[in-house]
Amino acid sequence: MNAAFLATLSLELLPAQLRDMVTGWLPEPWRWLVNSILAIAVILASFGLLFAYLTLAERKILGRVQNRPGPNRTGYFGLLQPFADGVKALTKEDIVPRGADHLLHFLAPVALLAFSIMTFAVLPFGRNLVAVELDAGVLYFFAAGAATELAVFMAGWASHNKYSLLAAMRALAQLISYELPLLLSFVPVIMIAGSLSTQEIVHRQSGWMFGFVPQWHVLTPWGFAGFAIFMTAALAESNRSPFDLPEAESELIAGHLTEYSGFKYALFFMAEYFGMCALCGMAVTLFLGGWQAPLPFLEFIPSYVWFATKMLTLLLGFIWVRCTFPRLRIDQLTRFAWKFLVPLALINLGTTAFWSLTSGWTGGLQIARWLVAIALVVIPFQLIGRKLSAGLGPRTYRYA
């Protein structure tokens, strides 16, 4: 055990040690309470800061993709922009339409934010960093996540605005459509891991193939398919482009946010980003090996850094997708979920079953196992994809 490893160990354990420093002098019966409060405070603070800079990063990246600088006036490099926005949101007038249901109009952003923060409880941010060790952590996560759409519907209904109402209807359709592929896409992970606990799922992805390839789920055929479906559904769940139908700005002005201003609007915005972060964190946990390092010699970097890196990469992917894609129409959105994602996710269950049953195969059989699994993923994708895009395609034009 050399000095470098000790240093790693102390870095790895730093969050827990800091916590113990604070709570160590408390009498034992009180510690759990202060520990929980501390965990909540740390999660809120770090994700609040992440939210602030994620909005800036999104605007900067969107700007650069669109060949313009993005915000660069407040502070060096625009670094104070999120705080300027925060001050602006706080000082703006809070307008409630006269016909609105005042209670629901007020409750919607609060409920949305509460539900999206609740999801952070079960995310394993590091080797020993999880706020609540739940046996059914994954189930809890998706239950809390699904409730956020309800808040969107509340906002749309309570605003007493036709655009908001249309957005609320869209949000419900989207919720019902995409909850199913989202849930089906991670069932294979639970089949393989045999547990609903997030820490357990991460531990199951540890170890190295040939000594250096990580055994993450995403590196298997079924895992890759599951990851793709999960991320697509996650885009829809977090109302991001190309599935941002509830707040489709070219059609519904701002959708369910039309009648919100000032701080309530900021809360919606915050909750949307929290939801996005939580879903990306869950994707990391389920498919990308959670807080584990991608290569053996990189294990000296603390686990929470790896979790953050992976999550940020996925978030950047979300931003990149937003820069590029147009929006789907609501009927196409639901058709995509029911006729494409759900069948693929169901087939993926079969693929996973095959994968888990053939785990004993070795040698040539191992190669056959891979080939069959890949075929089970690619062929349905091709067939169903062709069915889905029937009648659409590039056209040739004649000239007079």
Binding site: L62, V65, Q66, N67, R68, K162, Y163, L165, L166, M169, S241, P242, D244, A248, E249, S250, E251, I253, R322, C323, T324, F325, P326, R327, L328, R329, I330, D331, Q332, S389, G391, L392, G393, P394, R395, Y397, R398, Y399, A400
Partner: protein, 390 residues
């Protein structure tokens, strides 16, 4: 009434309209989109009656930007109306200028020197590039791209506007054409700049098309949406890319062969479905043909005067009579009808605005489609409210 009643390719006008309060099918929702809606391209208003997301009725309302253009023109000199034509379709001031100049030249029998004709063709085709690029950007913005294609379109537009600015002194309100020629002679530097733009534009279009044309979401959103039949298009007087997207071969550059268009080799792309995707693609293909015209025109532009030396600027009084001058603007046939009574002001001045006429088929295209489609159908019509309301 089921969803199958709404075949996207054959919306029958009027057949889906029912009472707003129908106890059997629930209430219809009447939404007033505009005049300050993000995607109505200015101050246009659509009163749409929705059944869920389906458009059952659509009533366009316009006139919010009415500026009395025709009456003002009847009270100013012939020359004085030229800067006002810039403000009709403020994306294509060069073609508006040309159409008006052609009308006045017909009225007064004013000849135009050859170099000026070439410069006019060059400017008109650059304007077509400008307009179609911007339209594609706006259309994709309506489809929900977070501004990316629009910003790329505007990046290229900026280069074109710089060219316009260095020639005419203004980026958008060029006021460049005169009766009997053009105001300023383009320098050799300017022509080199135009050549450089033309040579680089193909590469930009390739990249733009890679981003958009093959995009599955865009194909899903636009193919089969807002189909217009050739019969209806002809009956309604639709012109321009919108008419050609339905498969009707009608391009004034070929039909009238005004200016020096007969000297250039170019083709007219024709669509087959008349839907939004066809309208977008016809415009992209037209841009490629415009590049060809530009290359030929810039290679063969003759030397000579830019203005007819006999052309009169002050005290211009055409003899009594009437004339209709039209050209193939980027949006369609833009025409000016003038009646002269021999005085310095026209007796009657009338604009045939392409986007206004093309807008008349909006309801027929939107019925039975969803509200999201209505937005992109409006986007694909390519309207500029300055021209619609005049």
């Amino acid at each position: 009434m089921s969803a199958n009643d709404f075949s996207p390719l054959a919306p029958q006008a009027g057949s889906h309209v029912r009472e707003v309060h129908d106890p059997l099918h629930g209430e219809l929702l009447e939404v007033s989109m505009g005049p300050h809606h993000p995607s109505t391209h200015g101050v246009f208003r659509m009163i749409v009656t929705l059944d869920g997301e389906r458009v059952m009725k659509l009533k366009p309302v316009f006139g919010y930007l009415h500026r009395n253009h025709e009456k003002i023109a009847e009270n100013t000199t012939y020359l004085g109306s030229m800067p006002y034509t810039d403000r009709l379709d403020y994306l294509c001031s060069m073609t508006n200028n040309w159409a008006y100049a052609i009308a006045v030249e017909k009225l007064s029998g004013q000849p135009v020197p050859e170099r000026a004709e070439y410069v006019r063709v060059i400017l008109a085709e650059i304007t077509r590039l400008l307009n179609h690029t911007c339209l594609a950007g706006f259309l994709m913005q309506d489809c929900g791209c977070s501004g990316t294609p629009l910003m790329y379109a505007f990046r290229e537009r900026e280069k074109i506007l710089d060219l316009f600015e260095s020639l005419s002194g203004s980026r958008m309100m060029c006021n460049y054409q005169r009766f009997g020629g053009c105001r300023v002679d383009p320098s050799a530097d300017w022509l080199d700049g135009a050549r450089k733009l033309t040579d680089n534009y193909g590469r930009f279009l390739d990249e733009f098309e890679t981003l958009l044309t093959g995009n599955e979401i865009i194909m899903a959103r636009t193919q089969g949406v807002g189909a217009l039949s050739p019969e209806l298009a002809i009956n309604a007087g639709v012109t321009g890319p919108m008419l050609r997207a339905t498969g009707v071969n009608y391009d004034l550059r070929k039909v009238d062969a005004y200016g020096v268009y007969s000297r250039f080799d170019f083709r007219v792309p024709l669509g087959a479905h008349g839907d939004v995707y066809d309208r977008y693609m016809i415009r992209v293909l037209e841009m490629r043909e415009s590049i060809k015209i530009l290359q030929q025109a810039l290679a063969t532009i003759p030397a000579g005067p830019i203005m007819d030396p006999k052309a009169k600027l002050r005290g211009f009084r055409p003899k009594a009579g009437e004339a209709y001058g039209r050209i193939e603007g980027p949006k369609g046939e833009i025409g000016f009808y003038l009646v002269s009574d021999g005085s310095p002001n026209p007796y009657r001045y009338r604009v045939r605005p392409p986007s206004f006429v093309n807008l008349t088929v909006l309801e027929d295209m939107c019925l039975g489609q969803t509200i999201a489609d209505a937005v992109i159908i409006l986007g694909s019509v390519d309207i500029v409210l300055g021209e619609v309301d005049r």
